[in-house]
């Protein structure tokens, strides 16, 4: 059945040779690799997707990769397109999308750099946002042992209220 979403997905697939699917109406999910990411983003922005809703990262510990997702919304067509890429977990770095979406993308990338440790090449300002005096501690990784960190850094008295842990 031909709808607006399948038409758009076919156009993207034929132009850039990427994988994708239509989840339900108003939702399209596309997976690509890092070399084509900037072209796809620029083409989408010129095609009406002017609003960047969020940038997020998922830590797949078993595969050893981070998966970055860019969620884009178009005010003209009312469709949400998500672009996903995977990068290596040991030295995560990728080109920044600040030339395309400017300050909106800059603040999202600054948060991801602090919490996951991803380096964005070309972002003008990657200083810490929420945490103070805790450089090089990336708390949202899956292998970060937060109980040990809290016990060493923040004083833990021997009181009975601190002794309840169930998992």
């Amino acid at each position: 059945m031909d709808t607006k979403e399948t038409g758009l997905l076919d156009e993207i697939k034929s132009k850039f040779k990427v994988d994708g699917r239509v989840q339900r109406e108003q939702r399209i999910w596309i997976s690509t690799d890092g070399s084509k990411l900037m072209e796809v983003c620029k083409w989408l922005k010129d095609g009406g997707f002017t609003h960047l809703s969020a940038i997020s990262a998922t830590d797949w510990l078993k595969d050893g990769k981070y998966e970055l997702t860019y969620h884009l919304w178009s005010y003209d067509d009312n469709i949400l397109v998500t672009v996903k890429t995977k990068i290596d977990r040991k030295n995560p770095s990728i080109d920044s999308v600040v030339p395309v979406w400017e300050e909106n993308a800059q603040i999202h990338e600054r948060e991801l750099h602090e919490l996951f440790g991803v380096k964005f090449k070309g972002n003008p300002d990657l200083s810490p946002l929420f945490l103070e005096d805790q450089e090089d501690v990336h708390p949202f990784r899956k292998d970060f042992n937060w109980r040990e960190h809290v016990r060493e850094k923040f004083y833990n008295k021997e009181n009975e209220r601190e002794a309840v842990y169930y998992d």
Binding site: S53, T58, Y75, W101, E102, E103, N104, I107, F130
Partner: protein
């Protein structure tokens, strides 16, 4: 941090901390570099309320996350309950009964009215109209008494809107009480339309944001509508039963602080209209999917991912949830409207403004530090 900003002209510059210990700024600080009376540059200082929600939600099951989700924004807990519950419903493919959908919309719109009343009260306080502040908090108490009757708590409803429906049904007599409270709200809105000259003089023509800049900086909600763009998530992408209800979306073209304040008052009128329609059409039936009636210790979240958008009182809110077959979500990313309003938009608007205009601009953006820091 203050050394990284541009230097001010010599001889007249000094640093001003409009910070978290100031009575007019909430849990958030802004560092200003000032030359004479004009602000040269501003830098936001977030992080006073950072609790690490996205990591906390990875260690708890969906019903425990529903209780946690009302602390995402202190001023409108029921709207954020609704975003989280919708994400879990879509990921686990749960059928929500019809009566539950109508009750969810009624509670979310009541919470929106209550949040706009706080906005009106604090904006009046910041610009010198003290009577407005006291009236606003007096009238807000009627809605908090309704919440106490229906959900059991005045401010935090403890996961009232949970995956599968709502936790409790309306008690007897709740419907008449809601209609009485709506009459009182209608009476309060007429009071505001007595123009106060101090508010008008301080807020008109101040903090102008054009449409192109608003979209580039990521503004959504009343801030974007105050600049002239007619867009609302409840109309673009209807969720729950909003496609069956009849309401309008107020828009203004000037883009200054007074236009955003006026939109807040018009939205309250539209919310009253929505609640009256929903109460008339409320059907009978169950309020929760039968398998979710008692809290479950372990569920099976299927593999998949979902992105849900909603319109909370401050703008566009979204949840991105990833499941991997276990009983807890693998990743739960939360996008709040204030993350964009408080850092890029505020720094852009405060540049070049006078010191006396800083409270009017700051409070007209309707900020809540809790959903910026999460």
């Amino acid at each position: 941090m203050i050394d990284e900003m541009e230097p001010a002209p010599k001889g007249t510059d000094y640093d001003l901390y409009f910070g978290p210990a100031h009575p007019g700024s909430g849990n958030f600080g802004v560092k200003l570099k000032v030359a004479g009376e004009i602000v040269v540059s501003a830098r936001a200082d977030p992080g006073y309320l950072h609790r690490g929600f996205e990591k906390l939600m990875e260690y708890r099951t969906p019903i425990q996350n529903a209780v946690l989700s009302d602390r995402l924004c202190v001023l409108e807990p029921l709207n954020w309950n609704l975003v989280h519950a919708e994400a879990v419903d879509e990921l686990m493919d749960i059928d929500v009964p019809e009566r539950a959908k109508y009750i969810r919309v009624i509670m979310a719109e009541l919470s929106r009215i209550q949040s706009h009343i706080i906005w009106y009260g604090v904006f009046s306080l910041g610009t010198g109209f003290d009577t407005g502040f006291k009236m606003a908090f007096g009238y807000r108490d009627y809605i908090l008494d309704l919440f106490e009757l229906i959900t059991g708590g005045r401010v935090y409803p403890a996961g009232y809107i949970c995956p599968g429906g709502v936790r409790r049904d309306f008690p007897n007599g709740a419907r008449d009480k809601i209609l009485k409270v709506l009459d009182k709200m209608g009476e309060m809105i007429k009071l505001e339309e007595l123009e106060n000259p101090a508010l008008g003089a301080r807020a008109k023509g101040v903090g102008i944001l054009k449409v192109k800049d608003a979209i580039r900086l990521g503004a959504t909600g009343p801030v974007l509508r105050g600049s002239g763009m007619k867009t609302d998530v409840r109309k673009d992408e209807p969720y729950e039963i909003y496609d069956r209800l009849d309401f309008e979306v107020p828009v203004r073209k000037e883009g200054d602080a007074y236009a955003r304040y006026w939109i807040g008052i018009e939205e309250m009128k539209q919310s009253i209209k929505i609640i009256k329609q929903a109460l008339k059409e409320l059907p009978e039936g169950e309020v929760i999917d039968p398998s979710w009636k008692k809290p479950k210790l372990s569920v099976k979240i299927p593999k998949g991912e979902v992105y849900v958008r909603n319109e909370v009182a401050r703008g566009e809110a979204a949840v991105y949830m990833v499941g991997d077959g276990g009983s807890k979500p693998y990743r739960c990313k939360i996008r709040g409207p204030d993350f964009l309003h408080m850092i890029p938009v505020l720094e852009y608007l405060l540049k070049g403004a006078q010191i006396a205009d800083v409270p009017a601009i700051y409070w007209s953006l309707n900020i809540c530090p809790a959903d910026m820091d999460r």
